[in-house]
Symmetry: C2
Subunit: 332 residues, 2 copies
């Protein structure tokens, strides 16, 4: 019997086709094959990207030369442009403004073949720390209201270059989906005086059926109402609304559970394309009692088709309980 | 300079990358090639589908035999099942209910090679009339709150069979996106005492820059804030909130503008995959002064990637003014 399930944060319904119960081998997975060729993100080609705005590099090396372990540059084909004013205006009944923002690329490591599943743990910690540094820096620009950090892994997930990288977009408005999350979690908080994410973590750790992995400070779960088969969220057990509130020492534990989760996904699904997104409170709204930052990882196994476009809700052929069990039990 | 544009109905922002201005040949279009092979939707194979629930057929022919010009059957792999009760219940803090609903397939015509771009106009009228008949019938079942009609054309748009067909899902709840549209247009109506869609049609017909085609009763436009390049909406000029309120005689004019729009898209983009969705008021809420039914056609030219998943808004590399001009001027 199919089930309709409601996400407790924004109230989004999904259809879980429980009786289909698709397991990893039931999906046609477009495995990504590294093609090689010229790569602007490889060491020695630093001059082919826009100049770097942040890097971790060996002492004594110059910007835009080799010697880096992580490098942040502006996107060569940015969706938004960091110069100018918002210039809000109407066109009759319509509203528009200039596409002000910043669009950055985080080149996660120098090696073309290294991804977030086989990167040394220090490298993963570096990536997570770079996210924090960029958020802190951009929070100082009054034009930005939100920093969206995400990764497109694989062509079908939207990556146009194969060298492993994440992206960051600084936005002049708080995006719609983030507003829905904020409103939903605030509504819950006003009613219960508790954070909906904290409640969810508590219930998941009791029920255990949707837990993929936990360590002292973090938990990886398949959410109750996932849009995508094998969707996994990683959340801190401690309540923080902003990613950069996390104590310095916690990034290693985050890197460990994050890398292992990606490894479990890769072992289960092959090199399936995926997206992940860092969900955080807007700039300037730190210390919110009702919001809880987290990562959402969405493997790209199903298509967005007419039904999803028309309804805004998703058909998911894999119950999260099955996905979590599979991910827990797969041998690494 | 990129532009941020806001949809006037639900307030959804999109980024229009005006300076990229992608034209049809800039997209990598996965043209659909008809592969043939056994087809359960072809005449003679009626017994391989679930039994028909509606058909237009020659007088004297039996159900589930050849002789039909259009046939509606239950989906063999339904997302929702029409038996049982909703059985709403909790699982701790989470909410779920049984996946009650109906999932039907409208086989648009008997010929495997005929699509909505080359179907005779009477055939297109038949498809549009069948939508109306199914809506009317399902409106009588008190378990359903909404009927969602859509088409996935091409594999990348979610079609698993190539014989041209549309789908219908009858739902026990009004889907999220429809609620957003209803709330948005009601908000506008409460403020202006006018329908936002009527206002939009009026402005588009004055400005003309985003009009693809119009006839006496309908208009095809590229909306001001489209999610997808070459997105086209078809709207009745007269205000109706429900599709089945349309006078009998108007379906031919609708079929004409709809088929021509699909032809213009195909001429411009090749046989690019697309989705279309019929947007209507919920069952039992007919005659709404603030809502206006319409079709939304979305070619599948870009990917939903991390940014879209995280923000809920879209990056569109083709300004709708460019798309409309292209579609208007392409030779049929």
């Amino acid at each position: 019997m199919p089930e309709l399930r409601k996400d407790p944060i924004i109230g989004r319904w999904v259809i879980i086709a429980t009786e289909r119960g698709k397991r990893p081998h039931d999906f046609v997975i477009e495995e990504e094959v590294v093609k090689g060729g010229f790569c602007p993100f490889c060491p020695g080609n630093e001059h082919t990207t826009p100049p770097e705005i942040f890097a971790y590099r060996e002492p004594g090396t110059e910007p835009n030369t080799p010697g880096w372990s992580l490098r942040v540059v502006h996107n060569k084909f940015p969706a938004l442009i960091p110069q100018g004013d918002l210039d809000r205006q109407g066109e009759g009944m319509f509203d528009k403004m200039a596409g002000i923002g910043t669009h950055e690329v985080i080149i996660e490591n120098p090696d073309h073949m290294t991804t977030l599943t086989n990167i040394p743990i220090d490298g993963f910690v570096g990536v997570l720390s770079a996210y924090r540094e960029r958020i802190r820096t951009l929070a100082e620009d009054p034009r930005f209201k939100y920093v969206l950090i995400f990764k497109n892994m694989g062509r079908a997930a939207g990556a146009s270059l194969e060298h492993s990288h994440s992206q960051l977009i600084g936005l002049p408005i708080v995006p719609e989906l983030v507003m829905e999350e904020l409103n939903g979690s605030k509504f819950y908080y006003n009613w219960k005086e508790r954070c909906v994410f904290c409640d969810m973590i508590r219930q998941e750790l009791q029920q255990k059926v949707r837990v993929v992995k936990e360590n002292e400070e973090f938990v990886a779960i398949c959410p109750f109402a996932p849009r995508s088969p094998f969707e996994v969220w990683i959340l801190p057990k401690m309540h923080y609304s902003s990613y950069d509130q996390l104590p310095e020492g916690s990034y290693r534990l985050l890197a460990e559970i994050f890398r292992e989760t990606l490894q479990r996904l890769e072992k289960s699904l092959g090199k399936a394309p995926y997206n992940f997104i860092l969900h955080i409170a807007p700039i300037g709204e730190s210390g919110l009692p009702y919001y809880h930052w987290h990562f959402e990882i969405m493997p790209k196994l199903t298509l967005m088709a007419g039904f999803e476009w028309g309804s805004g809700f998703f058909i998911n052929p894999t119950p999260p309980e099955d996905a979590a069990q599979y991910l827990r039990e797969v041998e690494l």
